[in-house]
């Protein structure tokens, strides 16, 4: 079967072929196809959002993560007043989509704390997504009732052996509970679900196959859900954990374009982990959503505590503010979309 046949016929069995274009001209053909499909399905738009870290307490020891419980970093959770300051700072930029994050500590940041935070955030934003510890279906229902409409959850790696090694302690050891998380959220009525693999932990083509198969499975089973993927590449961490399987810029292009061809309506999210030049060049190849004005520190935008800067989860590469990102997207011939949901629904 030829590569070019796969371009126009992307069922699951062709995905492996699509992920491994052999030549430059094959990759270019993929990029063209991906651009055409993206235009058709999403138009010339990029939706913007920003992450807001509520807390960095954690019970896990993920070897690659700055919040690893063994790391001696300042730990903090935003109190209502601090959260309001941070949220209002973001709201002033005009962004209406927010992603709230925490480490995995059900004791220090229980569901009741998350709910209290939502009460503060809801009047300021149209769309609130969560990237916190995995919940049960009924807990997702509770958060949806408080205004959450999106879930982000990364499996990190789909390889069970590697997963086991990377997560030596804490509730995250439970591979299966984490894997089933998007389904529990979908059952509860979550509107958007974003899944991802942390690229660099395992050979990427295999991870990509798993990730895209997972996305396809979710979309087939829950057609009412807007499914999207993230393709985060591992960044330098506190523990000096380095990627065992490096993923090049070229690999990222393969992955994004293959994903778009495989699932034309799939959302593809790109974070500020990536460098500005690469992010700018990936606009138009299939990206639908980008973060902007990010920090991975708790209260990183407004809190003056000098320890804050040492409490980050990982280093970001694209440090441009929201106004600069908006300008760049417009210059690329795309519209930066700041609002694309109705929060009070």
């Amino acid at each position: 079967m030829s590569f070019y046949y796969c371009l126009d016929n992307p069922p699951a069995e062709n995905l492996r072929e699509l992920l491994s274009p052999k030549t430059d001209s094959q990759l270019e053909a993929m990029a063209r196809k991906a651009q055409e499909l993206s235009l058709k399905n999403f138009g010339k738009t990029i939706t913007l959002y920003t992450p807001l870290y509520l807390a960095n307490y954690c019970d896990n020891q993920c070897l690659y993560c700055g919040f690893n419980t063994q790391n001696d970093i300042p730990r903090k959770k935003l109190n209502p007043q601090e959260l309001k300051q941070e949220a209002e700072f973001i709201a002033k930029t005009g962004l209406k989509h927010i992603l709230i994050l925490s480490g995995e500590s059900r004791t220090l940041t229980p569901l009741s704390y998350i709910k209290d935070c939502l009460k503060i955030l809801r009047p300021l934003f149209s769309s609130i997504s969560i990237e916190i510890y995995p919940l049960t279906e009924s807990e997702y229902r509770e958060l949806i009732a408080e205004g959450v409409d999106g879930l982000t959850i990364y499996q990190e790696t789909y390889d069970q052996e590697i997963y086991k090694k990377l997560h030596p302690r804490g509730p995250k050891q439970d591979y299966r509970f984490r894997l089933d998380t998007p389904q529990r959220a979908a059952q509860a009525g979550m509107r958007t679900i974003n899944i991802g693999a942390l690229l660099g932990l395992a050979p990427w083509p295999k991870e990509a196959l798993w990730l895209l198969s997972h996305a396809r499975y979710l979309q087939d089973k829950y057609p009412e859900v807007e499914v999207s993927i993230s393709l985060p590449r591992l960044q330098p961490q506190f523990n000096n954990f380095t990627a065992t399987d490096e993923v090049s810029d070229r690999d990222i292009v393969r992955l994004i374009t293959a994903a778009r061809i495989f699932m034309p309506r799939l959302g593809i999210t790109l974070s500020t982990r990536e460098k500005p030049a690469l992010r700018d060049n990936l606009i138009g190849l299939g990206i639908t959503k980008m973060s902007a004005g990010s920090t991975t520190a708790v209260g990183g935008r407004t809190q003056s505590d000098p320890f804050i800067k040492n409490s980050i989860q990982f280093e970001i590469s694209d440090k441009r503010d929201i106004a600069e990102i908006k300008k760049t997207i417009l210059e690329k011939g795309y519209e930066p979309v700041l609002k694309d949901w109705i929060g009070v629904l």
Binding site: G43, T45, G94, K96, R191, E224, V227, L338, K339
Partner: protein
Amino acid sequence: MNDNLTLAGKTISNRLLVGTGKFPNMPVVKEVLETIQAEVVTVALRRVDIESKSDNILDYIPKNCTLMINTSGARNANEAIRIAHLAKASGCGNWIKLEVIADNEYLLPDNLETLKAAEKLVAEGFAVFPYISPDLSIAKRLAQAGVAAVMPLGSPIGSKRGVKTAELVKILIKEVNCPVIVDAGIGLPSDAAYCMEIGCAAVLVNTAIATSRNPVEMAMGFNLATRAGRLAFLNATGGSNTAEASSPLTGFLRTNE
């Protein structure tokens, strides 16, 4: 020649309705609408940011246009009804393009939920324009419920595949007692012309204009084609759509009479 269309009590002359999603920037939306003198414009409420000083799409829609608020994002009747209520409360008027979609892969509408929402919204006084798969019984029920028009898809939203549902749309035009507006899948001006030739009251185009190389010029093309198709509908005699055999099969009866 007076060839106006009355929709929900409002008389319009431009039968090209324009959607405002997927454009590369907001000023170009304005330019498109002004250039073709659009009269009815759809806007998704999810994109409206009334608080924003620079990024509120409503600021780019000429004041003489009638807004038709799209319930895009609604997955069931209840969500669509709530979006309609919010639209009205935000001062966006009471014209609702009712879109209920529980299928994120093809974006095909849920006709049953659409009917439920339409009945409720019409009863509440909204002018309802439901987006549907071209199904005769649903379209008739919608017309009975009092919708302002039915909007069958030509092919899936954004697919630009043209009017693949033509045979079904023709049946709706013939049988349903309200205007029929083809809403999705129109890819080229010739598709719009075709819809008008077979008797659609209007067409709604978005993706094909918004994602073209030059949206303003593409909109001009669609505008001309819509007009051309309408003129053909009004004036054509014979031809493939109004076929009449040139030698009647029963002519022999008359020559013998």
